[in-house]
């Protein structure tokens, strides 16, 4: 399936712009996601397509496109300068660079917390720059966000923190009760449903954060320094979890400056320097 989809994609876009992830897959075939997850993924994808108002499945393969994107904040800080990039579905991407290089700005642009000063951003072939304000919530439902400081609600239990993300988009109770334990199991927090965030370790808290991001089956998971507040060993555990999620079909964009984790991962790496894209390294070449 992966091969045919890439071919279709080549047909519609320039052939020389070979997606690194496609190369990666050819060289080292990834484990096939199990049947169940895959069906769920396809269902989510068609839901997203209808939410975004696009027809035809092929449009969804190129998930993110940035064209000459610049961002200047109202206070005059130039955070991004003429960035163009494409992210294929199923990819795992690291955004690296020093503080202030523009990593966080890219994640904010992806979830449309900020709008670019110049340039265009397409998510699943739909411009999120021109998108109406009323369409934004729908778009965000196909994305999950993981934060450096976890952003858990202190007065809610683990279960409530995770189910919160389903409640606020109006999911039926029946689905919530069924889905939340699944995700808790997936991130390895079984038995800790009724704890409060204050009673958990940093790594466990981040797992709750990831579970919350995953609960609505996003196509794109955006993680802004997810290991920034964690020690080496805990970070590796979180990375394993993120790889696992990626293997099951979710595209992951992770901003970080933990370079040893990035080197060990052998994934595509985008290096940002002072708001410019300094290099785009295919997997294993960073």
């Amino acid at each position: 399936m992966c091969r045919t989809t890439s071919k279709k994609w080549f047909f519609f876009f320039d052939g020389d712009d070979v997606s690194p992830s496609a190369r990666d897959r050819k060289a080292k075939p990834e484990r096939q996601p199990d049947r169940d997850e895959r069906e769920v993924f396809l269902k989510r994808k068609s839901e997203m397509a209808s939410a975004l108002g696009v027809s035809g499945r092929w449009r969804l393969y190129m998930l993110v496109q940035f064209y000459n994107v610049s961002k200047i904040y109202p206070n005059g800080v130039k955070a991004l300068d003429d960035i163009s990039l494409k992210i294929d579905r199923g990819e795992f991407i690291f955004l690296v660079g020093q503080s202030g290089a523009g990593k966080s700005t890219i994640t904010k642009l992806l979830i449309r917390e900020e709008i670019p000063t110049r340039g265009q951003i397409f998510i699943a072939s739909r411009s999120i720059v021109r998108m109406k304000r009323s369409q934004v919530p729908k778009m965000r439902r196909s994305m999950g966000m993981v934060f450096q400081d976890f952003k858990l609600l202190e007065n809610k239990t683990v279960f409530e923190n995770i189910s919160f993300a389903m409640e606020v988009i109006g999911a039926p109770d029946k689905e919530i009760v069924k889905r939340v334990p699944e995700v808790i199991q997936m991130v390895g927090l079984k038995g800790k449903e009724d704890r409060f965030p204050g009673e958990l370790s940093g790594g466990e808290q981040q797992r709750v954060g990831i579970a919350r991001a995953l609960i609505n089956r996003p196509l794109l998971l955006i993680a802004d320094e997810p290991t920034g507040n964690l020690d080496q060993k805990t970070s590796e555990g979180i990375m394993e979890l993120l790889f696992d999620i990626n293997r099951k079909g979710t595209t992951v964009v992770m901003a970080t400056h933990a370079l040893d984790l990035v080197r060990a991962a052998r994934k595509r790496v985008l290096v940002l320097e002072k708001g410019r894209l300094a290099s785009d390294n295919p997997p294993g070449e960073f």
């Binding site: 917390e113 919530p137 994305m143 966000m145 993300a165 606020v168 988009i169 109006g170």
Partner: protein, 294 residues
């Protein structure tokens, strides 16, 4: 689905209120004080305007007629006056009635005007009431133009001054009410902004997860409405108790004609309650929009 959402909204609203008890208390008391002041101002204004309306409606025009008019001319004049614009009623007062009135106002029973004066010196007259008391000076002028009218009297000078004063009082009271309402909205907006600020992380998360704006707004709205109407209710209970005791006192004192009657009072109290709820809602709306802009 919708009912489930409503359940969720109410749950959230109550949870937030019980979690931020102090803030909720602050909001309720703010609304209470605002509505109480507003209600008192309204009652004072209603009473004074009722009093003023009575003063104004007492103003009437007395048109003295020429003594040598025939009966048919007199009745003719009546139709002419009635045909004028803005006339409410025309009352004929004969010379004899006028003398009797005079006798009455002089008061002394053992003193007979009729015997002192061998001839009745008073003329026949028409007492004319205007639909709009403010129209009295104009109306008087046009009555004076009519044939057979000798003299017109309506308290010239005094009436104009009375109207000036009442107009001024009305303007001042309307401005006062608007200022009070604005102050109340501002106070409530500030209090609710604190409540929203306490939950800004939650609001931010909801926005990023993809909750619709209305979904985020509703619990806060409910909270604002509930706190607002609670404040309004307390205020109007205090106001009703206070005012009814004042009415009781006034009845024994027979001092001023007070604004009473069950239905207008109930309307007033209901209006105040709704105002409380509206203030709560408006305050929420003002303070919430800033946080929703993510």
């Amino acid at each position: 689905m919708y009912i489930k959402n409503m359940k969720y909204f109410f749950k959230q609203a109550f949870r937030s209120m019980s979690r931020n008890r102090l803030l909720s208390l602050a909001t309720v008391s703010t609304v209470t004080v605002c509505i109480l002041i507003l209600g008192m101002a309204l009652l004072i204004i209603l009473n004074t305007s009722g009093f003023m309306a009575r003063l104004e409606s007492d103003v009437e025009i007395v048109a003295y007629l020429n003594k040598d008019l025939t009966t048919s001319q007199i009745s003719d004049l009546r139709y002419q006056i009635q045909a004028l614009n803005g006339v409410q009623s025309v009352q004929f007062v004969s010379r004899d009635q006028a003398l009797q009135e005079l006798q009455k106002s002089v008061g002394a029973k053992d003193y007979n005007l009729g015997t002192t004066l061998d001839k009745n010196p008073l003329p026949n007259s028409y007492e004319v009431k205007a639909l709009d008391p403010h129209n009295v000076p104009n109306l008087a002028a046009s009555i004076k133009q009519l044939y057979g009218v000798d003299k017109v009297n309506y308290g010239q000078g005094v009436v104009e001054r009375l109207f000036k004063i009442t107009r001024w009082i009305r303007t001042v009271s309307i401005v006062l009410i608007i200022l009070l309402a604005l102050g109340a909205i501002f106070l409530i907006a500030t209090t609710i902004r604190l409540a929203v600020y306490a939950r800004r992380k939650e609001v931010y998360l909801m926005k990023l997860i993809g909750a619709a704006d209305w979904f985020i707004r509703w619990p806060f709205f409910l909270e604002g409405i509930l706190l607002g109407s609670a404040g309004g209710l307390i205020a109007l209970l205090l106001l009703a108790a206070g005012y009814s005791s004042i009415i009781g006192q006034a009845k024994t004192l027979l001092f001023l004609p007070l604004f009473t009657g069950t239905i207008p009072l109930l309307t007033l109290y209901g209006g105040l309650l709704i105002t409380g709820a509206l203030l709560g809602m408006l305050g929420t709306l003002i303070s919430l929009n800033r946080f929703l802009d993510v």
